[in-house]
Every structure is written in structure tokens, then in C-alpha cells.
Symmetry: D2
């Protein structure tokens, strides 16, 4: 960390800063340069309150230089590869991993049909929501534990791994029992109590980006899980909230190469929630693959109009096949294969 002081040779301010840094944060600091305007702070500066320093009288600027997340940082490791099954590794630079299934688990029949749709395209991971975070209290909130049992059953029947969204820490034992991966939704990205609980699990966690989350905040949310002891974190870009309203959210595909430099964690793209319209999902899916994502999570349904949730963005059989054909072709074009 570098602190720049407005005036030269301001001894009293230097002294004040040095003692605060040492006593409050346990950091060493050294004046560098002849006119004594720059203070270089060493040691673990991750707890230092940069905003406070910036606002002190006599300070011109403070530059953290280092990123505040350590375990998630690319400086620590090149790539995390998470083996979901022998033939499905998320984060493998040669693979595009597809995750597909219904938005919400509505019934055993619906889930079975949808799983069959996914299996027909050799999908390895089945998604399905049992606990649904809904904007309003009067919307269908999911089938809960029964839903988890159904997805476990479908996974077993079709030989697929499973993922479902977890909304509160106390449900963790249920998820440990029934599913292979857990998903944290955008609205819960900074639900730190939930993140801390997931840090104690060993199952992979897919952490969706919050609607207003900067990349650093997202990686710090991942850091909560990593710091808790769970190294299997996957990031999922699903669009951010902007002024643009024609699309449901603004899918920030630029975050994929940007994240690749900042972190070793795998990156999945969710084209369904970002676009919000069935007929636009394929284009965004192809964009996600082309930009270098490690995989996609896509919502499918045999008859979207019957879905209890997000019917407008579900891929029916025809759109799903078209999407998979495109994804396969684009993946091949950039030297990857679809898993």
C-alpha cells in the first residue's frame, strides 16, 4: 500500500500514520523518496481502512496496490479444476461444461421429462430449483425438500450429477444428502451467513454474481467460502442490473477474460436469466462459449408455458437442440469440447 502525503516533510502526519498503522493494523511502514511524501506500507494490509486514510487531512491518495482477496487470487494458483465426475471437470481449459434442467422442479413427471431432454444431449449435470427466491411473497416458492428428493432420483435414474439452489444455512444437511453441487443465487451473493456455512461443506458451490456486484466484491464473497475451508468454488456470471431494460439483465461477458486474470476459479455463464427471452438465449450462450467461459447453465423445459417460474426464458426441445448444436460448433472452433 502506498500513501501519498500532500506536503513535503510533514513529520507530524508521518508519525501519526506510522503509529496508527502499527498499532491498529500491525503493519510496518517506511517513508520512501527524498521529499518524504510517500509512505510504503508492508505486511498484511487487508484489514486497513483505505477510505478512512483517504479522508484524513493532509493525505492526497492511497493506493492499495494488492488485491484484498488472497485465496481467490490468481497470484496464488493458475487454475482450479473441479472434478464433478470422471468425465466432467469444471475449469479444464479444454472443456465447456453444460448444466441444464428446469428453472423450478414442479413435479416428478416434469423433472423426468426435462432430465431426459438434457440426457439426450449427453448433459452431465442436471439443475433444478427446489427452493426458489421469488421477488414477491405471493409467487410459488418451490417444493422444498420434496424437490431435492426428486432431483436426487432423476439424477440417479439418468446418471447425472445434480445442482440446486440453497437459500439458508440450516438447509445444508439436506443439500449434503441429496445433491452434488450447490448454487448461491445472485440475491444471496452477500448473504455472509450462508457463505460461511458453505465454507464448511466439501461440495462444489456455484456462486452467482450479485446484480450490483463489482468483480472485487464477488471475489471477496468467494473468499468467504474459500476461507471457510471449501476450495471448490465456481463463479457464475448471470448479468448485472443496468439502465438497459430490453434485455432482462446486462450479461457482462467482458467479465470472463477480466476474471481469468484475477482468479483461478472456474467461470460459468448463465444466458437464460440474463436474456429473459427464449429466443435470445442461444445467441447469448454462444457468446459465452466464444468469450471463454468454462461452461454454461441453461434452463430447459418440454413445455415452457406450463412452468411455475420463468416461463419466458425456458428453452423448449427445438430451441434446446439448436442451442446445443451451436454451442458444440463454437466450442470446437475455439479448440474445446462440450462436456
Amino acid at each position: 500500500m502506498l500513501i501519498v502525503i500532500k506536503e513535503k516533510n510533514h513529520e507530524s502526519l508521518i508519525q501519526k500514520l506510522q503509529s496508527m498503522l502499527s498499532e491498529k493494523y500491525g503493519c510496518e511502514s517506511h517513508i520512501i523518496g527524498g521529499n518524504k511524501r510517500v509512505l510504503a506500507v508492508t505486511g498484511d494490509t487487508s484489514g486497513v481502512d483505505v477510505e478512512f486514510l483517504k479522508n484524513m487531512d493532509g493525505i492526497r491518495s492511497v493506493d492499495r496496490v494488492d488485491r484484498p482477496y488472497k485465496l481467490a487470487s490468481r497470484e496464488r494458483k493458475d487454475r482450479t479444476m473441479i472434478e464433478i465426475s470422471k468425465d466432467c471437470v469444471i475449469g479444464d481449459p479444454k472443456s465447456v461444461v453444460m448444466i441444464a434442467g428446469p428453472c423450478s422442479i414442479d413435479s416428478e413427471g416434469q423433472l423426468d421429462e426435462t432430465a431426459a431432454m438434457a440426457k439426450a444431449r449427453d448433459i452431465k449435470i442436471l439443475r433444478g430449483g427446489a427452493y426458489k427466491p421469488r421477488t414477491g411473497p405471493y409467487s410459488f416458492q418451490g417444493k422444498g425438500e420434496e424437490g431435492l428428493k426428486l432431483i436426487a432420483k432423476a439424477g440417479q435414474k439418468y446418471g447425472m450429477k445434480t445442482i440446486s439452489e440453497i437459500m439458508k444455512a440450516e438447509d445444508l444437511p439436506l443439500f449434503e444428502e441429496y445433491v452434488d453441487m450447490m448454487q448461491v443465487g445472485a440475491r444471496n451473493m452477500q448473504n455472509y451467513e450462508l457463505l460461511k456455512a458453505l465454507g464448511k461443506s466439501k461440495k462444489p458451490v456455484m456462486l452467482k454474481r450479485g446484480l450490483a456486484a463489482k468483480l472485487e466484491e464477488w471475489l471477496l464473497a468467494a473468499e468467504y467460502i474459500l476461507a471457510g475451508g471449501n476450495p471448490n468454488v465456481i463463479l457464475c456470471e448471470r448479468g448485472i442490473r443496468t439502465f438497459e431494460e430490453e434485455v432482462r439483465f446486462t450479461l457482462c461477458l467482458g467479465s470472463v477474460p477480466a476474471l481469468r486474470e484475477l482468479t483461478h476459479l472456474p467461470i460459468i455463464v448463465d444466458p437464460s436469466h440474463a436474456m429473459g427471452k427464449t429466443r435470445w438465449v442461444k445467441d447469448a450462450a454462444l457468446g459465452g462459449v466464444a468469450v471463454g467461459a468454462d461452461g454454461l447453465i441453461v434452463e430447459i423445459h418440454p413445455r415452457p408455458s406450463e412452468s411455475s417460474c420463468d416461463a419466458s426464458q425456458l428453452l423448449d426441445l427445438e430451441h434446446w437442440n439448436e442451442c446445443m448444436d451451436g454451442v458444440t460448433a463454437v466450442a470446437k472452433a475455439i479448440g474445446k469440447r462440450v462436456v
Copy 2:
């Protein structure tokens, strides 16, 4: 709800829509107008999936007309006034209620000194964080239950009511025991499990606006608490995330008159988190009062540099007195008095 169909006299589509609306959502619908392009839907349309309808072939537009929240809506009631104590009613059109205290409860001494600062200006509600949602896992996370005990003690000593932030449902019994009001932070605005739990409490809940929350989403989050049975919800505007980075968040003061038309719930403004700098807090506080807020929540501290949290935005004694003088004068100018 009005559904506009692209072509005139499209009988098959009309029939399809009418049966779907009736079977799936239990809504009646009637074609209005001679060329049969407009379908008026009546009954409870709050569960209808507008996005799905909009994306159906042959549909030109869908206009919900009615707002999807019912209990929070102004159509139901003019104003909710919440009596915190005999001389302190949040939502009273003639009052500006001030809430003040430290960001974080760091020690008994610090809290006591800060409570004294608040009491000296006749503040009725003391704030103080015991559980702190921090962006990174390595920052101080609050003193927890001990913090709640300290604020209860300070409240008793100074004759003030108390408010503190709750982060998970299972802590509710502790909060019921130790504090008078509960606060839901911006990051948890859509933590529906927490909102549902708070719906079962009778203590007033101050619900902060999420960083990317539209007014409708915010009111639907309030609706979760209201629908659970707790009528005592207070909204708190604390700034939204925009591209502007000179200020910490963009305080959206326009939301105050806008909310006033949409809802009967009281509206508090938090100038501290929005501005992020001690020396700008007073101006934003005065702006909040002038624009018609029912109160303010402000962070104060006898010696900000010692705070474990948000030191850059805390008001010290001098700034605090200046702020209160201004707030008092502006409140008087618009016919209100500070409580």
C-alpha cells in the same frame, strides 16, 4: 391487466389466452373493443407471469396496470405511523425522527460515550452494529451477542430505544430480547428467509434498500414482512450503486416523493453510508430532511479514527452538532420538528 394482440380477430389466440389465464392463474378475462385486440384480465393477477405472456407469438404488449404488492400499497392506507415511544412516532407527518450511534459496537466505553453524544442532542433511538456484514471475510465481523447486551444496557442507561442489524433468522430470539427495532441491511434486502422470519416478529423492522433494487422490488421485499404478519416496516434509502464513484453510493432522494405515492410505509434516509465521507454527511442529511423523509439514521463516534468500521464516514462531536443544528433548522423550515 391488459393484453394487446397483434392482429385483429385472432380467435384461436384469444381462446388460448383465456383458457390459460383461467386454468393456470384463476383469472377471468374479457375481450374489449370491436376489433378484438384487447383482452382485459380481472381478478387477482399478481401471480400471472407477465414476461411469458409478452414473449408469446402474436402478443404486442402486456400492461399490468396494478402494482403487484398489496399490503405495502398506498391504495390500501394513507400512512403507517409506528410508535417507538410516547414521544417518538416514525411516520408522523410532523416529525423528523433521528437515529444515531456508532457503526459498530466496539466496547462498552465507546458505546457509552457515543450514546452520551446522541443523548446530548435528545436523540430517542440509539443505533449500533453487533453483527456486521463485511465485504471481506478478514474484516472485523462484530461482537455478536455481547454487542447486543451492551446496546441494551446503554439504551437503558440513557433512556433510549435501540436498533441493530440482524443477519440471520436464527438470531431472532436474541434480537427480540435485547433490542427495540431490527434493521435489515442492503445486502440482505432480498434474503427472503430472513424477511419471512421477521414477518413473525412484532418489533419494527427497518428495511434498507438493496444496491440494485428498484422501488417495486423493495416494496415487494417489504411485502414479505407485511404478509408474514408484521405491519411495522420502515423503508431506508441508503444510496444505490451507479457509475458515479466520487460518492460512495448515489443517494436517490427522488425516491422519497416517489415512494410516498406508492406506499404508506415510513421512509428514513441514511446519509452516512451514501456519502462515505464525514464532511459530506451533513449536506446529505439536510437534503434528506428537505425532500420529506420521516427521519434520518446517522453514524456518530467520539473519535472516528478508533472505530473498527466505516471510520471515514462517522461524525465526530463537532460535525455531529453542526449536522443536528442544520437538521433542526431545515425541519422547522418545512413545518416539522426533530424528534
Copy 3:
């Protein structure tokens, strides 16, 4: 346009609305439905002030139903294809048209070298800035007319068409003389005086999206040029301003399929300005192709560090070749060829 009135049978309001619509805007209107709450407005409603109607006492909602742009609308035409040269048609569903060149024309030698880099990959359109819109007044503002002469010369030498940015109406004669296409930058998207002038030209105009422009505003800006008599308008998505700061702008690739439904105009993607970093441009370029853009505009330079402008995002020879290899492969994967 549909106007919904709050109360049933509110005769005086109906009368007031009908006479205003007829006298002020020349629109007919008819009450539809038995309880007289819905007023259907027909005729040319593009001039009607929707916001004013919405705010009138007694009005519940106003739904425009039709889009306010006519000439740009997809309802009028399926696709505009603009023949730049015999072998280069922008908007052809089977082509990805590449535009490349330096950000700024700095010297004859630099432009010549850069044009050779483009030509070596068989690029048909050379870009180069002669008039540069710079955020601050002290930055290099471009070589002006001399720059236009240089690009004309390079175009001739290499057999390439040319495009350059125009910043004021009075420069139009110069652009008519020296270049084949004109570009309107993001900052000038709503410089209506400039748009009106370009409506009188017959040369194709590439209109970049403003940093805060909704799709409708962008299409209305295009409508200015179309309404002036110039049918050759190309849209260019170049990223919007959001809270995300790791990337220079947020490239909104979702706008490509969304625009495709709204308009017949061709859509180009600019990955260079959106990403702002050389090493991320390729990924965004591939994303743009995969999502269905009609072409890309990319900034290249033999030695980026020497550029007077935007050095951080220019592709050097190695990155450029890598980018073109990727673009070619992805285009082929989706059934297109690079032009």
C-alpha cells in the same frame, strides 16, 4: 395507445382526454369495454406526450403499444444490406464484415504500416481517426483534414474502403470528398444537428451507441438520419457505462439479438473500446461474432506504445493475427464467412 382510467364511467375525464388527443395531436380515440375505463387511441401517436398523460389526475396507466420509430423499425423491413464494395455487404446474414485500423492517424508511415497489417488479413474497410473526441482539452485532438487525406491515400493504395469519425456538420463536405463511410461516436449519438446533416448524405453512417442510451433512444437517433433521407445507417454496440470498472465499458452483447427484432439495420460490435485492454479484445471479438453481429470494428497498430491515443487497447501484429484466426473459426462455426 391504450389509456387506462382509474374510475369507471368517468365521463368528464374521457371527454377531456378525447378533445386533447384530437386537438393537440390529431388522434382519434375510442372507449373500449363496457365500464369505460380503457381509451384506445389510433392514428399517428408518435407525437403524444405519454409522460404528461400518465401524470394526469385519474389516469392509471398509458401503454404506447407501438414503438415511436418508424423508419428504423423491423415492422417496415426485414434487413438492410449495405453494399460497401462488390465483395463486402454489411448486413448480409452470411457475412461478418471486419473493419480495422489505427485509433488515430498519427503519420503517413504509421497509417501505411497499419493498413498493410489489415490488408494482410484481407480486410476490406480501413478505419482511422482524423478528428478525435478527447475527454480532456489537453489531449491530442487528431490531424484533421490532413488525416482524411492520408486515409484516402492509404485506402487507394491498398484497395480498401475507408471510415473515419465526423464530429461536426460543417466538416461533411470534407468527409464526402475523402472517405467512404462516416462514423458518429458515442458522445455524439444525440448530437441532433450532426445527425440531421448526415441525413442529407448518401454515404453509409455507422452510429455508435451512447454510453447511457437505451435501445429505443439509439434507434430514435438512427431515425434522425433515416428521416433526413439517408437509408444507410449501421448501428455499433461499443459498451455502456455501468458500475463495473474492471472493464472499460460493459459490452452489452445481449443488445444484438434484441436489436435484431426491433430493427432491420445492420449491427457492428466494437470490442476494442469496450474492453480497453489489448489482451481481452480477442475474447470480446469472438463473443460479438458468436452472438450474431454483422461485423466488428477493431483497433490495430504495429507498435501500440507509439500511438497517440488508446494505446492500451490496440492489437499488435501477434494479437491481431490471433484475433482474426479466432474470428474466422467462430464465424465458420455459425455458418458465416469473414469479409
Copy 4:
């Protein structure tokens, strides 16, 4: 400027940086600190391409430290006060200057009536649009020169100074002849050709904030006018584009104290365009005064429904009087008087 290098003692990179800084930008630089990781750059660094440096291999961070605008900076001057007339000084710390008038000049009668409304509250500056930037080409575009003549006449009749929006450089002579102040609209904030032309005028220019403009970009736009030789620039906050759609734009009142530290230029707030609804304008106006703005610009009209433009946000006589009463009271409360 401070450049931090990733590795210690990286002599070749240090040499490369130092020669580039010296040759390309004419800046001196010195290594500071013992491990040779920090390079301090002195001299005029305003032309240095920070983004390029940041992206060079081996660089960890670059901190500009100084702001890139010089003439607009508070470091140069404390406050600019612009004397519009003997009794009206914009920027006087004891005054709130009110500017009022119709959105658009529709006819002599309408303008005369509106000017009388303003005069009745002793307003010193009359606003009125003659050239109107409209989102679509089919909306009324203003009366042009005739409008300017009408406002000059009204100004004379009522003894008021006048302001009107200028949209292109070539209209400058007309504005010099007919009005006392010129306004640059939000859409033209970065129309650099226009800004350069206004730099040559001596008449005060009110520069509205662009919808997506950061404070630094706004001040750099002001710098264009200042650098051209015109010191009389006034900033006008009118709301930014965010995801919030209930209000027309998000009025960023926090920018007022933030700008006060960055610049000496006066700051006006426009509550009319930000709120977009007549009945919300007063609250935002009072907020603007309370937060410390040097003045307000408000749109008024005797009969809003007849206006050709922005009818939904115009104050009629009753709202106007209420607004002025509130503004007067709040100004007094903070020790200012309304001018």
C-alpha cells in the same frame, strides 16, 4: 504520478519506463525507495496514457495522484462568482439563484404569461428553449431564432436576464445577440466542437451534466470552455441515468458537496428534468437547496397541458408558489437568501 512495478530491482523495465516518459510525454521520473519498485513521475503528467502504463507487462499499478483538470480545479481558486446583474451573483455563498421559465418557447403570449409568473416571485433569470434537443425527429424542435427574439423581448419587458440552450457552434452569433447566458444540454456535454466555440464567448455558460458523466469527465468538459478563454462556467446537476425508472433520472445530490471540493465553479440543480413529474419537483428543489446548491433552474408554465414539451414536469401557478415558498424557507434555514 506513482508507478508501482511488480518485481524488485527490475532495471530493464525501469529504464524502458523512464525513457518513454521522458521522450513521449516530457516527464521526469525518479525511483523512490530501496527496492526500486516505485517510480515517481513529476512535471505535467496530464497527457500521460495511464491505461497504457497499467497494462504493460510487469506493472502492478499506476496512481495519477493529481486531477487531470487544471483550470476547473479547486486547487487553483476557491470560488468563482459570476455577476449576472448587480443583484444576482451565481456562486455567492450567501445566495440561492433561481432561474425559471417555460421548457419551450411556444408563442409570444405563452412566454409573456410565464415570464410574468416568474417575475411575480422576483426571479432574476428567465429560461426558455428556442432550439430543443428531442429524442425523436418527429417531435417539435423549437421555434429557433424567432424564439430567441421572443425571449429577448420578454427579458426586456420584465427586466430579467435570459438563458437558452445552444445546440451548435454556428448559432453562437445569434445567442450573443439575443440572450445573456447560454445552456449546454446533457446530450451535448461532450460535444467538444460546441464547447470549443463557447470558450470563445464571454457570456456565462451553464453546462449540464451528461447522463453517464462522471464528475471528472464533467469537469474536463468544463475545462474545454475554460481553456478556450471563457471563465464563466456554471455546472448544472440534472440527474444521471440509472436502473431506477420511477423517477425520470436519478438526481445525484451528493455531487454537490463532492463538486464543492473538486472545483471552484458554481453548481446549479435542475429538479424538473430529474423528477419528471410536476408534483415531485418541489421536494427535489428543496433537497437541492438544502444540500448546498448555488441555485435552481425550474420549468414553469401557466397551463402545462398546453406546452409543446415536457408537460408532465412543468409547475403551474399553484405548484410554483408552493415551490418558491419552500425554497425561500429552506434557504433561510441554512443562512442564505433567494435571489
